[in-house]
Symmetry: C2
Subunit: 172 residues, 2 copies
């Protein structure tokens, strides 16, 4: 069994900004580029992933490219000390998330979907309040087009390798 | 301008083995998963990469999945102190490499193609001879099927994000 997950990588510009924070405040900095998780980690065999892959291709073809807006810095506190760039919950993003959680793709997620790009985690309470304060002051306001998502798998060392990219919109 | 490159990721098993060496001996360990470079870094604008992308899709469709064999540990010394898993230069791999270096994709590469998976680099001469000795003793013998390649771009911090995956063989 291999552990898979599905993510959207924002533009290089937004990734570079996120990394400038993650470098100092996110221990997962070197394991995966800045991303929006659209389906949490799940286990699958090689045979299962081939079937899942063709379903994801269909999801990609049926989904149109859409606008992603990252518009403020927020935190999951008191649940945990994760600081993130809040991503607008547009109908398109919700629809994609839903299409990735149909019965034949493992069903509904355990938690409601809060689209975000993590920039800091595993901070102490004091660090959290310092970092949260300064990042909120810096703020954020990005708008860009999402035209693809990626299926990734996790290596032994915890890092993620892309297995396949799915373009949004019908095949040209 | 963004810096792009094209690579094949070997199986998770082979990546995990490569990483067990890279963790200690390769400063690029956290920047990119273990890979075989099939086209060195090149610069392109957003517009150029869209055109390149559709050419790569065609290359993928025209290339059949092929067998990749990593069969011994070797070194580029005296050119440099890079230790790598030597990958068999099969006609299929050479053909893919050639298809990625046509005139409309920037032309022939500067150096002849030595397919490999780097596991150690930037070692001192003494480290190199120690590490090379022990890795050669450990040896390697992997055979697996390659059915995709990836176009990646480099972030400010030197790490690589996958832009798109190209499956080998005609579309299903």
């Amino acid at each position: 069994m291999t552990k898979f997950g599905i993510a959207i990588f924002p533009s290089k510009k937004l990734q570079d900004l996120a990394n400038s924070y993650r470098k100092r405040y996110d221990p997962h900095y070197s394991l995966i580029p800045p991303h929006i998780t659209v389906k949490n980690a799940f286990e699958a065999t090689d045979e299962e992933i081939a079937a899942i892959s063709s379903k994801l291709k269909q999801v990609g073809e049926k989904t149109k490219p859409f606008t992603l807006r990252a518009y403020k810095i927020s935190s999951f506190q008191p649940v945990n000390n994760v600081i993130y760039m809040k991503v607008d919950t547009t109908p398109e993003l919700l629809a994609l998330h839903e299409a990735l959680h149909t019965e034949d793709l493992g069903g509904a997620p355990e938690l409601s979907f809060v689209p975000h790009i993590t920039v800091a985690q595993k901070l102490s309470d004091d660090e959290h309040s310092d970092v949260y304060g300064s990042l909120r002051m810096a703020g954020i306001n990005f708008e860009e087009t999402v035209d693809r998502f990626h299926l990734l798998y996790q290596l032994e060392n915890g890092s993620w390798t892309v297995y396949e990219t799915f373009r949004l919109g019908s095949e040209k």
